[in-house]
Symmetry: C2
Subunit: 412 residues, 2 copies
C-alpha cells in the first residue's frame, strides 16, 4: 500500500469535536488505500499556556526544561486522536518523538531533525493495519537523551521529515486556509489559490513573510523531493478540495514570471550617518551584530557629498531592533558614526517566481509601477527568482495590490 | 550526604506561585545537607481536564493512550519546578518515568512499579549537586515500552518507591493537611494529629477510608521500611511543623489500644432473601462477583425461621452496586433467591490500633456504646488490629464521635 503523511495544526485539533473531524479526513484517505501517519500539533492555545508558565517560572529559562514542558501539548493531542480513531473502529496508536525515535541535534528549543527510524511505524502498518499518530514538533536529542522541540511551527517539519523517512507518496499539510495564495487574500481580495508552486518559490514565499508553511519544512521537502499539499482541514472530509501542491519545477507546466507576492512587516531599518569611509568599516558594523546572532538583510551605502564619510542603512528583524541599537551604540567609538536612527515603520515586499530566471526587466517594471503610485523605495535586493523592495509601512496594501495586478495575478 | 525524597500533590503545585513555595521547602532541606529528589503531581485540576478529554474521545478507552495523555500533567509540573529551582540558583533537572527509567508491570492505567534504576539520579547528586525533580504517577511499561500510569494517587507510591531505590533517609509527603489525624477533623473537631503511627495501622486507616495516603504507597513503605512523614505544604517553608511519622511499631513507645477511627461511605449493601440453604450456594453467589473483579467485604448469613432458606447480606463498593445487582439477577436461576435489595445508605466505621492485639474486649465496648446511642449495627468484621461496623449512613458523625471519645482520642 502507498503511504501518506497527514499533518493537522492547532486550530484543526482545538477540541474533541474538531479531532473527530480530523479522524474523518484520516478515514477517507485510509479508505482510498493508504497506510497513514498523522502528525498533530498541540490543541490551539495550549502551547501558549505552557510557554507562559515557563516564562513565569524562570526569566532565563533552561531550554531543556522548556522542551519537556512544551512538548506535552503534542503528546496530549496524539493520544486523543488515537483514542478517537479507535472509538471509530480504526486501529491506531500514538507515538512520541522519543518512542520512534526521531533523533535531533542542535540547540534545545530549536533543534533539527537528524534521523528518523521509521521501522516501528512501518511494522504497525504491516502487522496491525495501524494508523500512526505522531506528536509533532519534537524528538529525542541524540546527545542529551531528553525531549527536544523544533521551534514554533516545527510540526510541519516533523511531517515532511516523516514523509521522507517513511517513503510516503505525499505529505498533506492541513491548515486553516485551503492552499497557498498568490498573496494574502486579506490584503488583496483578488488573490488566487495556486494549484501548484515550485519548492524554490515556496521557500522564498515562506522566508519572505508568507506564514502558510515553516521555512525549514519547505527546505526538507525540496531536498527530499516530498510532494507536499497545503489544504484545508475545514473542508467537508467527504469531499475536500485538493489544495496547493508544492512540487519540483519540472512538474509545473506553465510557469508564470511571478507566482506570488509576499510581504513582511517584521523588518526594521537602521541608519548610521557619517561613518568614516575606510577599509574595515563594514566589518566594524556587521561583525558585532553577527556575533549577537542578529540577521542583517538589505544594506545600502550612500557616500556623503564631501566624500569623507558615508551613510549606511540596513535592515534587521523588528524584534531585534532594540538589541541591535544597543550593540551599535556600544561599538560607536570603534565604528565612529555621527548618529544612529532606528525605524520599524517599514515593510519588505517581494515578488517571487522561477519564471524570472528567463525574463529580464521584471523588477524594473515594479519600480516604475510603484513610483507612479508615489511610493518611495528605500532599499532593493534581488536574487535569481525574487526581488524585494523596502517601503514605508503605510503603503503596504497599495504596493502589494499594485504588484499583484502588474504581474497578472488578479483573478480572471 | 543523606538523601531525602519530598513529594508534593496537586494543590501544592497548582500555579507558579505555589511551585515557588515548594522550591522554598526544597531549599530548606538542601540547606540542611540533604541530596533531594522531589516527586510532583499534576497541577490541581489538570488531571481531571485530561481524563475528561479521554472520556470525550472514546467510551471504552485504550488505557495505553489514556496513560500517554494523562501522564503529561506530571511532566509539565516537573519541568516547571526544575525551572523555578534554577531561577532561584538551585541546580535542578526534571526526570520523566521513561528517562530514569521507572519500570512498571501490570495493567496500563493502574500499573505497579517493578524496579527503579536510581543511578542517573545519584550521578546528578554526586557530579552536579542537582535536585532531581521527578514526574510522579508514571513509569515505562517493561513490556509495551510505553508510558504507564500507576492510577489515582500514584505519586505517593512513586515517592516511596524512589525513597527505597535511592536509599533515602526518609520520604516526606507534603499535602494539604499537616499530618495523620485520629479521625477526620471535619467530623470530630476534637481529633488530634498523631506524632507517629505504625505502618500496619496506617495501612488499615488508608484501606478503611482515610484519604491521606494511597494504600499502595503505605504497603511499599512498610515492606521497604521507608520512614515516611505526612506534613503540610502550606506551612511556612522557613519553619514547618514536623507532621506525622509513619514508622515501624518498634519506634512507637506508648501504643494506645486504638490509634484512629476511619470511616468509609463508599460501601453498598446487598441482601438476597430466601436463598436455598444448600452446599455450593455461597460459591454460586460470590464466584460471579469475583470473576467481575467486584470486591465483597462483609458477609452476614441469617437462617430463616422455617430453616429451609436463608437470607444473605454482604457489602460491595458503592461504585459497583449497579453492576453487582445486574450480575446477581443474571445468576438468579442458578442461585435461586426470592428477592434482591441493594442499598448504599450505609457507612463502614473502623477502629484501628496495634494495641488491640494485647487487649481483649475492645470491640465489645464499642458495640455497647453504639447501642446506648440507639445505633443499629448491620454487620461486623474484625482482624488483629482493627474492627469495623456497618451502620446506617445517617448515624456516621454520631458513631465516629462516640468511638473517638470512647477510646480516649479526644484532645486533652
Amino acid at each position: 500500500m502507498s503511504r501518506l503523511v497527514m499533518k493537522f495544526g492547532g486550530t484543526s485539533v482545538a477540541n474533541i469535536e474538531r479531532i473527530r473531524n480530523v479522524a474523518r479526513h484520516v478515514e477517507r484517505e485510509r479508505a482510498a488505500g493508504h497506510d497513514i501517519a498523522v502528525v498533530v500539533s498541540a490543541m490551539a492555545g495550549k502551547t501558549n499556556e505552557l510557554v507562559g508558565w515557563c516564562k513565569e517560572a524562570s526569566e532565563l529559562f533552561d531550554q531543556r526544561e522548556y522542551d519537556a514542558v512544551v512538548a506535552s501539548g503534542e503528546q496530549v493531542t496524539s493520544g486523543l486522536l488515537a483514542l478517537v480513531l479507535q472509538q471509530r473502529g480504526v486501529a491506531a496508536r500514538s507515538w512520541q518523538g522519543w518512542q520512534i525515535p526521531i533523533l535531533t541535534s542542535g540547540t534545545h528549543g530549536s533543534a533539527r531533525i537528524e534521523s528518523i527510524d521509521g521501522s516501528a511505524i512501518l511494522e504497525g502498518f504491516e502487522a496491525r493495519k495501524e494508523v500512526a499518530v505522531i506528536a509533532g514538533f519534537q524528538g529525542l536529542h541524540q546527545k542529551t537523551r531528553r525531549i527536544a522541540t523544533l521551534g514554533r511551527g516545527g510540526s510541519d517539519t516533523s511531517a515532511v521529515a516523516l514523509a521522507a523517512a517513511l517513503g510516503a507518496e505525499r505529505c498533506d499539510i492541513y491548515t486553516d486556509v485551503d492552499g497557498v495564495y498568490t498573496t494574502d487574500p486579506r490584503v488583496v481580495p483578488k488573490a488566487r489559490r495556486l494549484d501548484r508552486i515550485a519548492f524554490e518559490e515556496m521557500l522564498e514565499m515562506a522566508s519572505l513573510g508568507a506564514k502558510v508553511l515553516q521555512v525549514r519544512s519547505v527546505e526538507l521537502a525540496m531536498v527530499h523531493k516530498v510532494k507536499t499539499f497545503v489544504r484545508s482541514s475545514f473542508d467537508d472530509p467527504a469531499d475536500p478540495r485538493p489544495g496547493t501542491l508544492i512540487c519540483g519545477e519540472e512538474d509545473i507546466l506553465e510557469q508564470p514570471v511571478v507566482t506570488g507576492i509576499a510581504f513582511s512587516k517584521d523588518e526594521a531599518l537602521i541608519t548610521l550617518r557619517r561613518v568614516a569611509d575606510r577599509p574595515g568599516m563594514a566589518a566594524a558594523i556587521f561583525m558585532p551584530l553577527a556575533e549577537a546572532d542578529i540577521n542583517v538583510d538589505m544594506i545600502i551605502q550612500v557616500a556623503s557629498e564631501d566624500a569623507v564619510a558615508t551613510d549606511i542603512t540596513f535592515t534587521v528583524p523588528a524584534a531585534e531592533l532594540e538589541r541591535a541599537e544597543k550593540i551599535l551604540h556600544k561599538a560607536q567609538p570603534h565604528i565612529g558614526f555621527a548618529s544612529l536612527n532606528g525605524a520599524s515603520d517599514v515593510v519588505k515586499i517581494s515578488a517571487i517566481g522561477i519564471g524570472m530566471r528567463s525574463h529580464a526587466g521584471v523588477a524594473a517594471r515594479a519600480f516604475k509601477a510603484l513610483a507612479e503610485k508615489g511610493i518611495n523605495i528605500r532599499a532593493i535586493t534581488t536574487s535569481e527568482i525574487k526581488f524585494s523592495v523596502l517601503i514605508e509601512a503605510a503603503y503596504t496594501e497599495l504596493a502589494v495590490r499594485t504588484l499583484h495586478a502588474l504581474y497578472g495575478l488578479d483573478k480572471a
